[in-house]
């Protein structure tokens, strides 16, 4: 019987939401390929988080003092050893920053290429071999989808994009947690990671703002931010931005929305000149109403927008500001 192995990531011993989404992808892939599901996570087998890995027939607690803090060398060696032991046909990961960091190295060690950041897969009916599954991933920052297939024998490695699969509510697991102790040598870990830290304290809390107007690179120049600010003021909304705007210093970093900034869920999120790259979308997808103004009718932001205006923001934004002011009297 073939095996789907899902590696989950833990934060404070609990699997991350993204990991549970990867597990959900694994549950589906196992069902559709007639495989058994195994799940693994770094941590002590006694940790409560393992109870959340419902659906897996086998659960492994990867346990070793040298894995206490993430290093690419340590995790690559440990994961490679579990893969060698289980000989899975498919190996799934959450597409986290950690996975981005070391799984390409792990795949290379197995002479494979990771299918990174996949948003879905399709199993050819009646076929279960690894090369019969088509994985879809985004190209050109979401403007195009690519359909990929493994051309080499198992294992197939894929990491799952945030939000692409719905995390199932954890079902109680009946599987016992088995401890897997990899053989690791401190001398082979070449990097010394420091303690994670946060940048300066935040003074704007976009997370609680009911209305947000967010500006992206379509604004072209720092001086033009003023027209978006006027719209935000007219609406009584907070001003936010995509990353390039904050990188350029046009707005402070604390106003950045996205995977490396803040996560927001306002009643209304109005995106002006923002293309809708996944790293931006993960920060605002939960908004109740998304409105996009973009000159490109194929911009990915329209895929998640409730209302859209295709047009030049330099014409639409001032017109909208005027209309809002008029409506407010």
């Amino acid at each position: 019987m073939s095996t789907v192995l899902v590696f989950l990531e833990a934060k404070s011993d609990e699997p991350t939401r993204l990991s549970l989404e990867a597990l959900a992808a694994g549950v589906r892939l196992a069902a559709e390929t007639g495989s058994q599901l195994a799940a693994a996570m770094v941590g002590a087998a006694s940790a409560s988080g393992f109870a959340m890995l419902g659906g897996a027939a086998q659960i492994y607690a990867i346990s070793h003092p040298l894995l206490a803090r993430y290093t690419a060398d340590g995790f690559t060696a440990a994961y490679a050893q579990l893969i060698a032991k289980l000989q899975p046909d498919f190996v799934l990961f959450p597409h986290s920053y950690e996975v981005r960091d070391f799984v390409p190295r792990l795949a290379t060690r197995l002479t494979r290429v990771l299918l990174s950041d996949v948003i879905g897969f399709e199993v050819a009916s009646g076929q279960v071999t690894a090369d019969k599954v088509t994985f879809t991933r985004q190209l050109f920052q979401g403007k195009l989808n690519g359909h990929y297939r493994a051309a080499s024998p198992a294992p197939v490695l894929a990491s799952v994009q945030a939000g692409a699969f719905r995390a199932d509510s954890p079902s109680a697991t009946t599987a016992t947690v088995e401890t897997f102790t990899p053989e690791l040598d401190a001398a082979t870990i070449r990097t010394q990671p420091g303690e994670p830290f946060r940048a300066a304290a935040q003074t704007v809390d976009l997370g609680s703002a009911p209305l947000i107007v967010s500006v992206g690179r379509g604004i072209k120049d720092e001086a033009n931010i003023a027209i978006v600010k006027e719209l935000a003021d007219a609406l009584g909304a907070e001003l936010a931005a995509s990353r390039p705007i904050c990188d350029a210093g046009w707005l402070p970093m604390e106003r950045q929305v996205g995977s490396s900034g803040q996560t927001v869920a306002p009643k209304m999120y109005l995106a002006v000149g923002i293309s809708g790259a996944i790293q931006h979308l993960v920060g605002m997808k939960a908004s109740q109403c998304v409105i996009a103004i973009n000159k490109d009718e194929n911009a990915p932001i329209f895929e998640i927008a409730d209302y859209g205006i295709v047009g030049d923001l330099f014409e639409v934004v001032p017109a909208l500001t005027a209309a809002v002011r008029k409506a407010k009297g």
Binding site: Y97, T134, S260, M268
Partner: protein
């Protein structure tokens, strides 16, 4: 410090995406190309390090003839020399194949540091640099914002999720993948552009590097994404569209 910067030429950001007749890639006939964004930041970090500590900056790029322009652009910005892995069929290699070509082309350079962008704007695999590190058996770190030289190697600043950061100490030689946006990019000066014409740009045929092109993953087809949500498009002149949106904000979204 001897630093190699791997750069990729990609379609310009606002390029119109049309699928070509093979159904496997986009039509490239009327497309402008430029240096991949995060690679431009990798080049900038390399030039800053050379300015601070001396040494040499070598740019490396793989692709057809036209890639030469992007290498010249990097030379014009201040890189010392270039290596061009010439191939008209780079798409027949997967990320491991491309990294193998790169490893074969630079192994003898014995660089102290290899920098790449963190992902390409077209394929977005985000892997080539990390794979290259494994092939060269050197340590790596990804999503790097800052590099400092230390007595024993380097100290780098790595971006984590949700606004968190981390310092990492590592020995050299090492490979780093660079995140966009942490510095201002320099422009090529007229003088730089003139000088670039005389700088060494060595071409190596991909086929001469002894790398097996058999991929372990293949891109079978591409397609325009289908909309998951039905977006109500508000049409008309800017004033008309604005009026329609205000109506929605009042009656449906109820925020006005």
């Amino acid at each position: 410090m001897k630093i190699i910067v791997a750069i990729k030429q990609v379609p310009e950001r606002d390029a119109r995406i049309r699928i070509d007749s093979s159904g496997k890639w986009i039509a490239l006939d009327d497309i402008e190309f430029r240096m991949n964004e995060s690679d431009a930041y990798a080049l900038e970090e390399a030039l800053l390090l050379r300015e601070a500590h001396g040494g040499e900056v070598i740019v490396l790029s793989a692709g057809p003839e036209r890639v030469g322009q992007t290498i010249r652009e990097a030379l014009a910005k201040g890189a010392d020399r270039g290596i061009h892995i010439l191939s008209d069929s780079l798409a027949s290699y997967d990320a491991l194949g491309v990294a193998r070509l790169m490893a074969a082309a630079i192994r003898d350079e014995a660089a102290d540091l290899i920098l790449t962008g963190l992902q390409s704007d077209d394929l977005g695999l985000g892997q080539t640099g990390v794979i290259l590190a494994e092939l060269l058996a050197i340590p790596h770190s990804s999503l790097i914002l800052k590099i400092e030289k230390t007595d024993t190697g380097i100290r780098v600043l790595r971006e984590l999720e949700d606004g968190w950061f981390q310092q990492i100490e590592m020995p050299t030689p090492a490979l780093l993948t660079i995140q966009s946006g942490n510095t201002r990019l320099r422009y090529a000066t007229l003088m730089g552009i003139k000088k670039a014409k005389t700088k060494e740009l060595r071409s190596v045929e991909a086929a001469s590097l002894g790398v097996d092109a058999v991929p372990s993953v293949t891109l079978d087809s591409v397609a325009l994404p289908s909309r998951q949500k039905s977006t109500q498009m508000l049409t008309g002149s800017p004033a008309e569209a604005a009026a329609k949106l205000v109506e929605k904000l009042q009656q449906e979204v109820r925020v006005l």
